[in-house]
Symmetry: C2
Subunit: 197 residues, 2 copies
DNA sequence: GTCGATTCCTAACGTTGTTAAGCTACCTGT
DNA sequence: ACAGGTAGCTTAACAACGTTAGGAATCGAC
């Protein structure tokens, strides 16, 4: 049945077009403009068609969140080109905040309360993985043994998130702050070799 | 005209009751339950009455945000009892995160996108002021000259915000992480006396 | 060619924020 | 004490939202 596969292709295609339209609306006009009817209109359909591809709006938004994380991952992995681990750390901070600044609405949805905390953490897992690799290499390189590796990861992740979210201070400044924060944290951990509670 | 003042008193009273009801709904059932009709019903009125006291829902929410910040300020100022500045810093981190954990919905609204970034920063100004005082005293005590005081403040503030928002990790853990993060940041700045870009 | 399934649209429901119109009671001036 | 204006409150409604039901049309298979 060759036609069966074509229908399936078309179905998948409109599904992708819906996601693409939603992404475009979100990035260009913000979350308040992201309505089912608006998305449907942008792909030249009516609202109910969207529900043939997604159970509800949250499911569609979840797809946008996943897309956003893939996008961020791609940018974060770019830092692998830098050979120096310390500079790579600084670039990670910079790129993370840059992403938040260049995709403010998408970033907001990725970290907002539209999706619950657990699924958000699952979506962010790959990006956190990148951080974990870097931090492992960093501690190896500098012969630093973190008292609690996961805690250090979460602290860095939380710090980057916090500073990126304080977007009101402007993206360039936020980038500098994130770098300074990460630099200081790492410096603190290096100076902390003796004891620790 | 004694009655005029009574009417004014009644007006102010119902205004406060509306805020109180809104706060109760928000804290007990979350932002999605915070509807005008629901608030009005809780003070035994109908929806349009709310609009005689607030221009729109955002204005009412803004009042809740202000209330939340006053509440947080009150808890943050409690740390003044601790004489040791380092311990006071740790308590600040702990109390900040505790507040976020004890008033999750209120905290969310205080830092969410319901109110724009500038007004949010204005509302948070007093709390940031507390941090500034503490950081000033800390740097004086330890003879540390921060290369950029405001940057250090924003970094701490952003870090606390980020870790408090990662509430998925449980409040006690988030508190420990916030303390560890702040401790490490301060340690890093102390170890950073020489040069700095 | 006919039957069945898929696809799409129109229409509608319930809920949201918000506004307009009207009723009722009180407050005030004479 | 009574008439008149005003303040407070309600009902009704609007537009827009997410979401669902039902029917029309189109397409594929025998």
């Amino acid at each position: 049945m060759p036609t069966g596969t074509r229908r399936a292709r078309e179905r998948a295609s409109t599904r992708e077009r819906i996601i693409g339209a939603a992404l475009h609306v979100l990035e260009s006009e913000g979350a308040s403009a992201l309505t089912i009817r608006r998305i449907a209109a942008d792909v030249e359909y009516t609202a109910p068609v969207v529900y043939q591809h997604f159970a509800n709006k949250d499911a569609l938004v979840l797809e946008l969140v996943a897309h956003g994380h893939r996008l961020m991952m791609a940018e974060l992995e770019q830092v692998a080109e830098e050979p120096d681990i310390d500079r790579r750390m600084m670039q990670l901070a910079s790129e993370y905040v840059r992403f938040a600044g260049e995709h403010p609405h998408l970033y907001q949805v990725m970290n907002g309360d539209a999706v619950d905390a657990e699924e958000r953490r699952r979506a962010a897992a790959p990006a956190i993985g990148v951080l974990k690799e870097l931090l492992t290499e960093w501690s190896d390189t500098h012969d630093v043994v973190l008292a609690d590796f996961d805690a250090a990861c979460d602290i860095i992740w939380g710090t980057l998130y916090g500073l990126a979210s304080l977007g009101a201070l402007g993206n360039e400044r936020a980038r500098r702050l994130a770098q300074e924060a990460l630099r200081t944290l790492l410096l603190g951990w290096r100076a902390d070799l003796p004891d620790n509670a």
